[in-house]
């Protein structure tokens, strides 16, 4: 029997401090599947439950109700090798550079592989591989203290530490928060390359323009429930719903709607700058006759 690679959330609910006066429902009956090869963007306003959801994906939190199935196995079941399953799911937290702690960049990145019990040679080769993936020069930086690096470099060290475990699934919680445009493009480029190389990616993001550029699927959370799910094209044409949940749509999508309202002949679901540009140029050529 074929075993499909996936992380499946089945009727997942999570209640913080259940049974106390402070009890609050963070996630309510979420069913969502991350398929092999997906680039799933998880979007929603602050406090909608994104970070809580992400922590269920690799078993840091246990559901109050429902299940998390990794390749069909219940992550929180009695008989599973939870440790082994979790190693396949790399989680990069928000502001991951706050978690750097080792004396050197190489040691910090080696921490995960070391815990996996790999040989010294294997660890060394993984550290080199991971640094290359995040565009950090091994010869220049491996022996430096991570705390001497710039903020953007520190973040890439933290991501390399997760990559060095060579997870099948990479989950990133707002990986570009607080970075300048250049640092942001750099991180997004790295994630894009990893996805194209076969890693399944789940990324929490507040930037609809970033999501438009990268995601193959989008899941919209609002107040702990799954409000909508689909391709970026399906999601970003629902402009009113996206405004209602406090997110908005990519600038290209807003322009598409505004132009259509004025009678410009465009499809109603354009959402990237590139495709909008192509359509406008086509129309311009028709009008100007050249």
């Amino acid at each position: 029997m074929r075993k499909a690679m996936s992380i499946e959330l089945r009727h997942l609910s999570h209640v913080y401090a259940p049974g106390t006066a402070f009890s609050s429902v963070a996630l309510n009956d979420i069913s969502l599947t991350v398929h092999d090869g997906d680039f799933l963007a998880l979007v929603g306003h602050t406090g909608c439950g994104k970070s809580t959801l992400v922590q269920h994906l690799n078993g840091l939190l246990k559901p109050t109700d429902g299940q998390v199935l990794v390749d069909g196995e219940d992550l929180n079941g009695d008989k599973v090798d939870r440790r082994k399953l979790r190693m396949r799911i790399g989680l990069v937290f928000q502001y991951p550079e706050y978690q750097l702690f080792e004396e050197t960049v190489a040691k910090d990145i080696a921490f995960g592989p070391k815990n996996m019990g790999l040989s010294a040679e294997e660890i060394d080769s993984r550290v080199r591989w991971a640094m290359e993936k995040v565009h950090l020069n091994y010869d220049k930086l491996a022996e430096k203290s991570p705390f001497e690096l710039s903020g953007g470099q520190m973040r890439r060290v933290a991501i390399a530490g997760v990559l060095a475990m060579q997870p099948d699934y990479l989950i990133l919680d707002e990986p570009t928060a607080g970075l300048d445009p250049h640092g942001r493009d750099r991180i997004l480029g790295i994630v894009k390359d990893l996805h194209e190389g076969g890693t399944t990616v789940v990324m929490v993001s507040h930037s609809m323009d970033d999501v438009a550029q990268l995601a193959t699927r989008v899941a919209v959370l609002s107040h702990g429930t799954l409000k909508a799910e689909g391709t970026p094209r399906e999601i970003f044409r629902q402009r009113e719903m996206m405004a209602e949940v406090g997110l908005g749509v990519p600038a290209a999508s807003s322009l598409c709607a505004a132009l259509r309202a004025r009678g410009v002949d465009l499809p109603d679901d354009l959402y990237t700058r590139e495709e909008l540009k192509d359509h406008l140029l086509r129309l311009w050529k028709e009008v100007s006759g050249c």
């Binding site: 970075l179 300048d180 997110l247 406008l280």
Partner: protein, 282 residues
């Protein structure tokens, strides 16, 4: 002293103690009453250092900073300076000190020895100005990031400042939180005439400023209206920055032969210009 400028930085350089070279080199900046100035720059460009020099948290290694006519080296007036130029930072959670919103707003006033009745009046006014009156008795940790930032702004407003310096105040917020905080500051700028220095990585926010200053490697690299700055797409990218989506699209369309004017920054402007060329009724 002249009220021509609320903040005046003249040839300011700053070198951190442990560092061999200056992070800011001969930077001059003049901020007029009621002006909204956005400051852009890559990480490590010296933006945050500049912010801290503008209200006397740092003292220039060279050059001079005056806030409402007061020199930041004047130790006797440092509290007047900080009250005149309030500062708001990136992380909402690092700026809340009390367990009830009202008390958090009161914190600065208590330190100033403001009479009780006046204090209450000022707190109410400040909370109303950021539209957080309904939350006066709430615990800050139950608020959203945007709401926490607005409480932090109320704490500054209660001190009746003439300038507000925001150092990436929206960096950790979601889109609606960002709009909420920038909208609040824009309104205070317009209605109360508070001068604003708005440091940000979001080009879309800088569009709303009267003037944009771009810092690169400790020096002012570009200065002008948002329209002037965001037309210079290539230059901005060379400085590791970006331009708003619509400015980028306009540049791409122009390069491909569609005759659009320079200076387009927003969806509304783009809609007008494209319609003028494509719309059936025209």
């Amino acid at each position: 002293m002249s009220e021509a400028y609320r903040i005046l930085a003249e040839d300011v350089s700053y070198t951190y103690e442990e560092s061999p070279s200056p992070v800011l080199k001969k930077v001059s900046l003049r901020v007029k009453p009621g002006e909204f100035v956005a400051v852009l720059g890559h990480n490590g460009s010296g933006k945050s250092t500049l912010a801290k020099l503008l209200n006397g948290l740092y003292i220039p290694t060279e050059g001079k900073v005056t806030v409402c006519g007061m020199d930041t080296t004047d130790e006797d007036r440092i509290w007047d300076i900080r009250r005149s130029a309030g500062m708001i930072f990136q992380n909402p959670d690092n700026q809340i000190v009390a367990t009830v919103v009202r008390e958090d707003v009161a914190f600065g006033l208590e330190n100033l020895g403001v009479p009780h009745d006046e204090m209450l009046a000022r707190i109410d006014k400040a909370l109303a100005a950021v539209r957080m009156t309904d939350y006066a008795e709430h615990a800050p940790h139950t608020l959203s990031g945007g709401q926490k930032q607005r409480v932090a702004i109320a704490g500054i407003l209660a001190m009746a400042p003439l300038c507000l310096i925001a150092d990436e105040a929206t960096a950790m917020l979601d889109p609606s939180g960002r709009a909420e905080v920038l909208g609040t500051v824009r309104r205070l700028n317009r209605e109360e005439g508070i001068s604003v220095i708005w440091i940000t990585h979001f080009m879309e926010e800088a569009v709303q400023a009267d003037r944009v200053v771009v810092i690169s490697d400790g020096e002012i690299a570009m200065e002008g209206t948002p329209r002037e700055i965001f037309t210079r797409v290539e230059e901005m990218r060379r400085l590791n920055l970006d331009v708003p989506q619509m400015a980028a699209l306009a540049a791409e369309l122009r390069a491909a032969g569609m005759p659009l004017p320079e200076g387009i920054m927003t969806v509304e402007e783009m809609t007008e210009e494209v319609c003028a060329r494509l719309c059936p009724s025209n």
